[in-house]
């Protein structure tokens, strides 16, 4: 609600203010510390530089950005993330359109968020092994992965023309990997395709996890109903997640089978 209201008001301001007024107001925003926005947060979780890594050389402001463009870009990305995580509206990051002047800031914040979410999941031991303590935790991870997927898709859509071939390939690989993980959680862990528990599970998801349910309905794998349903409150361990050739890819812990 907060970011939505902020954007509604600030978008109207951007439409109506003259360039001179906008400059003066921008100077007000720039002068206030509380409106500073930090970028390239993903450098904390990225293990090595990749095709999507921020290429700017040591930022002179130590990745601190100021001004209207950054404030609005952050609000738009936050709003998109909330829509992606808690609704089933299509194209969550296109609910509010950035003005041409803020496009550069928006792209930087969005791609940084994409990298951050992807690498945070990728580095997370629970996501790698698919060993969750209980269903609410698995649902939280499903939501996180769904959100990361939406970030990847939004980044690709926004920067389609600017992306290099390597960047496109990397985004495709990330999407594939996250989609695999999403499937592994939804069907391997949460057993959303199990007729015995589907109604209860769907009721649990209703209201706040619309997009996860949509993903579950859209892509029901036929072969996963064979194993018995998981206990709802006890410690959950996945039923054989899909193995991959990639070592230590998320959701495909090679040790999972031997630990079982």
């Amino acid at each position: 609600m907060e970011y939505g209201r902020a954007l509604a008001l600030l978008d109207r301001l951007v439409e109506t203010a003259t360039p001179a007024e906008f400059d003066v107001m921008n100077s007000l925003v720039t002068s206030r510390d509380e409106f500073a926005v930090y970028t390239n947060l993903s450098r904390r979780v990225e293990p090595a530089a990749g095709a999507l890594t921020e290429r700017k050389d040591a930022d002179k402001n130590n990745w601190q950005q100021r001004g209207f463009d950054w404030v609005m870009a952050l609000a738009r990305v936050e709003l998109g993330a909330i829509v992606a995580g808690f609704t089933d509206l299509p194209d969550p990051f296109e609910q509010s359109e950035p003005s041409p002047s803020e496009l550069r800031a928006y792209r930087e914040v969005l791609v940084d968020s994409t990298r951050t979410h992807y690498w945070a999941i990728r580095n997370d031991p629970a996501a790698r092994s698919l060993r969750f303590q209980a269903e609410p935790q698995a649902i939280a991870y499903a939501r996180r992965v769904t959100l990361a997927l939406e970030f990847v898709r939004a980044s690709r859509r926004l920067s389609e023309l600017q992306l290099t071939r390597d960047q496109r390939v990397l985004l495709d690989a990330w999407e594939l990997e996250l989609a695999e993980l999403q499937r592994a959680i939804l069907y391997g862990v949460l057993r959303l395709d199990d007729p015995a528990t589907i109604a209860a599970k769907q009721a649990m998801f209703q209201g706040t996890c619309g997009r996860i349910l949509t993903a579950a309905r859209a892509d029901p794998p036929a072969s996963r109903i064979a194993t018995p349903p998981i206990p709802s409150s006890a410690s959950i361990r996945t039923t054989a997640p899909p193995q991959s050739d990639r070592p230590a890819a998320i959701g495909t812990n090679p040790n999972a089978a031997s630990k079982k």
Binding site: D33, E34, R44, V45, T116, D124
Partner: protein, 445 residues
């Protein structure tokens, strides 16, 4: 002297050792493993910002222990860097009372009622004293000379108002506790404790009400001064940041002053301050407001869009919900539109620092404010959901923090690796700071 010195040293060391071992032995003898586990669970709930779990774990213990054991509970909490049980229980009960959940809480026992009421009385008195000592209470009211000065002073008054409103809520809750206090127990109370039940809640409520009224009048007086100041600033037609600020503040103050007089007239409120009692003041303020709007032209609308927009942005970025350790709004928000407005906002305007080097001591608190208020909100939220089931983890989620819970059979903490210890220390410190520093005010819009 040189011959005596080793002897003194030996005696001092022995004494220190004896005192230290005696105090440890004392604590151990007073809290058994099950009780320690309850206190640890309460502490975890406190650090996680989960008032319901805190009350559910600590309240039954407080109801059944004696004073000596209560002291041991407080000592245990103090060693973990936490305020006493009475304070955290009172905080938890009051936080839930503020969100209209008081009726759903387990009823406090006699001891807990007294502890909570004592704590409430102390907190209310502290807030009242804070108001008395504030420079804005000087007589006559001193108007600042710059727009920044006005902004700061009005913000301080707004914070004071929020604190007084909290004090009002506390006093009201104290009254509720006093009403349900078992009458049969009254005779058994010590002399100093009886007023807590009998007269103090009503007296405190009346005092807080009076102080709020006084503060509101002073605020309106200051706004009238700022209205004149802004109108003067708007006479200069050059487009500057000050002009934008003046366009916004003149309109904002003009509306608030008009509303105040209208409300006072409707409720036939007797005003105490001389300038407000002057029958010409409302008309004069309205004229200033009109003139300021004429001078500002359409800049008024644009300045309103700017400052209201940034106000909502600040709520989104720095606001802390009452649930899930600050990461979610209350359940009430899903049921009513009003519920969506309740947020805790930091009292001091935050100055963000780079959130990536999270373990540097200099940026601990603000870093996390940014992480929570910034792009990490959703990720952090989902991880916080994990806290309750899987023990504590870092907000950023990469490093696992072992559960703080100890087995009663083996009270010794399992060894942690270095990074986990570091993150745990950071995380504990963070939540303790949040929960005890009272640097947040409850904002509803």
């Amino acid at each position: 002297m040189s011959v005596q010195r080793p002897g003194i040293v030996i005696v001092s060391i022995s004494t220190l050792f004896w005192v230290a071992s005696a105090s440890v032995a004392d604590l151990k003898s007073e809290l058994n493993p099950a009780e320690r586990q309850v206190v640890e669970a309460a502490l975890t709930a406190h650090e996680r910002g989960d008032p319901v779990a805190l009350i559910e774990s600590l309240s039954p213990l407080v109801a059944r222990v004696d004073d000596k054991k209560m002291k041991a509970v407080d000592d245990w909490l103090a060693r973990r860097g936490s305020p006493p049980a009475s304070e955290i229980l009172a905080d938890a009960r009051v936080a839930l009372a503020q969100q209209s959940f008081a009726a759903k809480l387990p009823k406090p026992g006699v001891r807990e009622s007294l502890l909570v009421m004592k704590s409430i009385e102390q907190q209310v008195q502290t807030i009242l004293q804070m108001k008395q000592d504030h420079p804005a209470m000087a007589e006559p009211l001193v108007a600042p000379e710059t727009s920044a000065g006005f902004e700061t002073r009005l913000w301080e008054m707004h914070v004071l108002h929020s604190r007084l409103a909290v004090a009002g809520g506390l006093a009201e809750y104290m009254g509720t506790l006093a009403r349900v206090f078992p009458r049969a127990q009254l005779a058994m109370l010590a002399e100093g404790e009886r007023p807590l039940i009998e007269g103090q809640p009503a007296a405190l409520q009346a005092r807080v009400k009076q102080e709020i009224a006084d503060l509101e009048e002073r605020e309106v007086e200051l706004r009238i001064h700022r209205l004149s100041f802004a109108r003067h600033a708007l006479e200069d037609m050059k487009l500057t940041p000050d002009r934008v600020l003046a366009a916004f503040s003149a309109d904002f103050d003009g509306r608030l002053v008009a509303q105040f007089f209208e409300r006072a007239k409707k409720s036939q409120q007797a005003l105490a301050r001389e300038i407000l009692r002057d029958p010409a003041t409302p008309a004069r303020a309205a004229a200033e407001h009109r003139r300021a709007r004429e001078l500002a032209g359409d800049l008024t609308v644009k300045a309103n869009l700017l400052f209201e927009g940034m106000h909502w942005w600040m709520r989104g970025r720095y606001g802390r919900g009452p649930e899930v350790g600050g990461l979610a709004k209350s359940e009430w928000a899903t049921r009513t539109p009003q519920g969506q407005f309740g947020l805790y906002m930091p009292i001091d305007t935050p100055s963000p620092t780079d959130p990536t080097p999270v373990c540097r001591s200099a940026c601990r608190r603000t870093s996390v404010v940014i992480i929570i208020g910034g792009r990490w909100k959703i990720a952090a939220w989902s991880k916080t959901r994990r806290h309750s089931a899987a023990g504590r983890k870092s907000i950023s989620g990469d490093r696992r923090i072992p559960s703080r819970r100890r087995s009663p059979a083996s009270p010794k903490q399992a060894p942690l690796d270095r990074s986990a210890r570091r993150v745990r220390r950071w995380s504990t410190e963070l939540w303790v700071t949040w929960n005890t520093a009272a640097r947040w005010r409850f904002s509803t819009g």
